[in-house]
Symmetry: C2
Subunit: 431 residues, 2 copies
């Protein structure tokens, strides 16, 4: 395929029209769901001062940065995620808005990772956050968005699962056993790898903290350890009719250091158990970014485009819904104007312009083309109608491409006619 002397960079996607349409589908569903829940959209810059990311994540992402010096010698980085920028924005502008802020962003992020199936060096991420409300009711509202996002893509109850945990429960566990803050951080890293690491390795790491694997597993297994915040969250979700989508699972802790309370992940319910989305409370981040000047509790989640797209493509009912959307979205035009007699091209051009001015999407052959080839183009473009300008103009033939049926129409009332047909394709002829 690579005819040009240049190739796209590894891990970077060319969005050809079909891929672009899929991307639009994901983003339009994200946008519509967030807006339905009363969230407003913003976007932070693609490039930021590198220090912002280092300060936020404590260096966890620092090995994967697209980081460089600009022409003015600034140390800058292509955003690996957006929460750090959001915290900066919130610290600077929170007083201009009533609290809580319910904000979302859809944007591209960049990480220098090994490109592989289901992961590139760029990806789009849907970020949904509530800032300025510390109660678990805010987390419930976030989870409602996460669940409704899955519904919007056509996923059913058995397709996915939301697993919720609370870092505070682990903080209490650690405090009772005399661990300090630094040891708690180490401990949470161990819990994060509980399902992936060999028992011997876990046992060794835990014993360095004076703990045993058995007591950790026992703590996880006991449902009585569900935190007060989780109980509040669950009661709220049950009132909404969404209780059945979530379950308590202390093995979820989320990798990043900045989470402070309730955390959750949305999982693909199939064997693979991929995380489709994840998030949680980060009550101290805005304070960290503002050197303690602004104290704004916050909770949020993110969903990337790679995993959700793969999951849709593997799930028949979700895929069928997407295909219906794509078919409509990808149509290059509603009406294809066929120029059957070149002597009538001027009339055809005027007609094309008038239809477009009326808001109808129209395509036509820029240069002379055989009749049958024009009809083929109409079908390739996904047009619903072909309007044939021939010798009888202002009388024209209208072909309904799906049914292959014909009607005779007149240029004088064609705008009204086409608007009527496009909005009510089953409607009677006006002509």
């Amino acid at each position: 395929m690579a005819v040009s002397s240049f190739q796209s960079l590894p891990g970077f996607r060319d969005f050809l029209p079909r891929d672009f349409a899929v991307r639009q589908y994901l983003q339009e569903m994200w946008r519509a769901t967030a807006r339905r829940h009363g969230f407003v959209e913003y976007e932070t810059p693609l490039l930021e001062d590198t220090g912002l990311y280092l300060k936020k994540s404590g260096g966890e992402l620092s090995t994967q940065l697209f980081r460089f010096a600009d022409q003015g010698g600034r140390d800058i980085t292509l955003r690996p995620e957006v929460t750090a920028s959001l915290a900066r924005l919130a610290a600077d502008h929170q007083r201009d808005f009533p609290k809580p802020l319910k904000w979302f962003e859809i944007g591209q992020c960049f990480r220098y990772e090994k490109p592989q199936k289901g992961r590139g060096r760029e990806f789009f991420q849907f970020n949904v956050d509530i800032l300025g409300e510390s109660a678990a009711q805010a987390d419930a509202e976030l989870l409602a968005v996460a669940i409704d996002t899955m519904r919007a893509f056509g996923f059913e109850k058995d397709d996915y699962q939301v697993r919720v945990s609370d870092r505070q429960a682990w903080a209490d566990f650690a405090a009772k056993r005399g661990l300090n803050a630094e040891q708690l951080a180490t401990f949470l890293q161990i819990v994060d790898k509980l399902e992936r690491e060999r028992p011997e390795v876990l046992e060794e790491k835990l014993s360095a903290l004076g703990l045993q694997l058995a007591e950790v597993k026992e703590f996880i297994a006991n449902p009585d350890n569900a935190s007060e915040n989780y109980r509040t969250l669950l009661a709220d979700l049950r009132a909404r009719g969404l209780g059945e989508f979530v379950r308590w699972d202390l093995s979820i802790v989320r990798g990043l250091a900045y989470y402070t309370g309730l955390v959750f992940e949305v999982f693909d319910a199939k064997a693979s158990m991929r995380a489709v989305a994840g998030g949680g409370r980060y009550d101290t981040l805005v304070s960290t970014i503002s050197d303690g000047k602004i104290d704004l509790p916050a909770t949020g989640f993110a969903m990337g485009d790679y995993v959700i797209r793969n999951l849709i493509e593997e799930t028949t009912h979700a895929l069928m819904q997407m295909e219906v959307w794509l078919q409509r979205y990808q149509a290059g035009c509603d009406v294809y104007v066929v120029v059957d007699h070149e002597e009538k091209r001027a009339e055809a051009l005027r007609l094309v312009t008038d239809l477009r001015t009326a808001g109808i999407s129209v395509d036509f052959p820029l240069m002379p083309m055989k009749f049958n080839k024009q009809l083929q183009r109409a079908e390739q473009a996904g047009a619903r109608f072909a309007l044939i300008v021939g010798n009888d103009f202002p009388q024209m033939k209208l072909k309904i491409l799906a049914t292959r049926s014909d009607a005779t129409v007149d240029a004088e009332n064609i705008i009204q006619e086409m608007i009527h047909r496009i909005h009510r394709p089953d409607g009677p002829l006006l002509a």
Copy 2:
């Protein structure tokens, strides 16, 4: 404002909700116009091999690049424009699509320039291109998009002007005077600066090519020098009813070296005469990018977001249209559910969920809040309706915020009621 210990980089914008909404307005108008003309959307990567840009533009942009080495040592650049990537894509994939390709892209570009009013280091650009058709009818179709874009923003005939020229006319002029290809390039650079440079400087530069300023000005002033392609273009636009928007102006040559034929700029008609958009033929670029393997004539134009936004804000009728759009778009929700009695919160949560599931945008207080404050929130969010859940539930009061009128509604048929009211706000009560 800067409370956080970090600032955004110079020339990079934070899109707070209001600015984001303006950006959406511009992009939605761009997208709708292009789609109405039968163009399909794609997007090229934000980062490319630096060589792609150097090869295309002959180094003209090379001093303004955000260029760096990635962790793998690749010389990569944040895109300063998208045409080079489009040429790469077209060379690699053109055989998968019927010709001509009518493609558009809306994307962010990056140039390391001095930030000033009306120019940043990042900007959004609307790129519209037709590839695979060498006739001037393709340029006419492009100009139709450019003109309709201005109309879509509410600009009237007197607000702007499209000035069209043809590099071929200058090539003929130069050939008659014995100039070679290199001298022609130098000459076009001089013509490009005709309106900005002092006559003495121009005279000196021209004399080095054996030319005089008078003969250049005379050539520009003579309408008989309009090229054959321009005549074809004008006839096509006249048939469309768009002839009055364009005029021939040989002083337009466009700065970049890769243009080969018809070129044009859309100007703000006020004294400032800013270029709002510009473009033209680049028939050899795909061949250059593919080392001669693919020969695909092309024409295209671009419009950036800075100038058009300023022009809208300075033009009353265009600004009013935008404000109407923004008011509707910025509404945080259609319905604000007021929780008047906390004992009914569970019922309110269920109602919120059911309304959202029906596709209605809903917000509500996450935590207990005074009645009047809730109504204030409803208005701040731009809600059209406040639905009050109180002691009489399932009977509720519905407040229409614009008219301050009330109605009593019942939870049993509230979904139907609200869908009806939102789509026909003047409709009678169903309850």
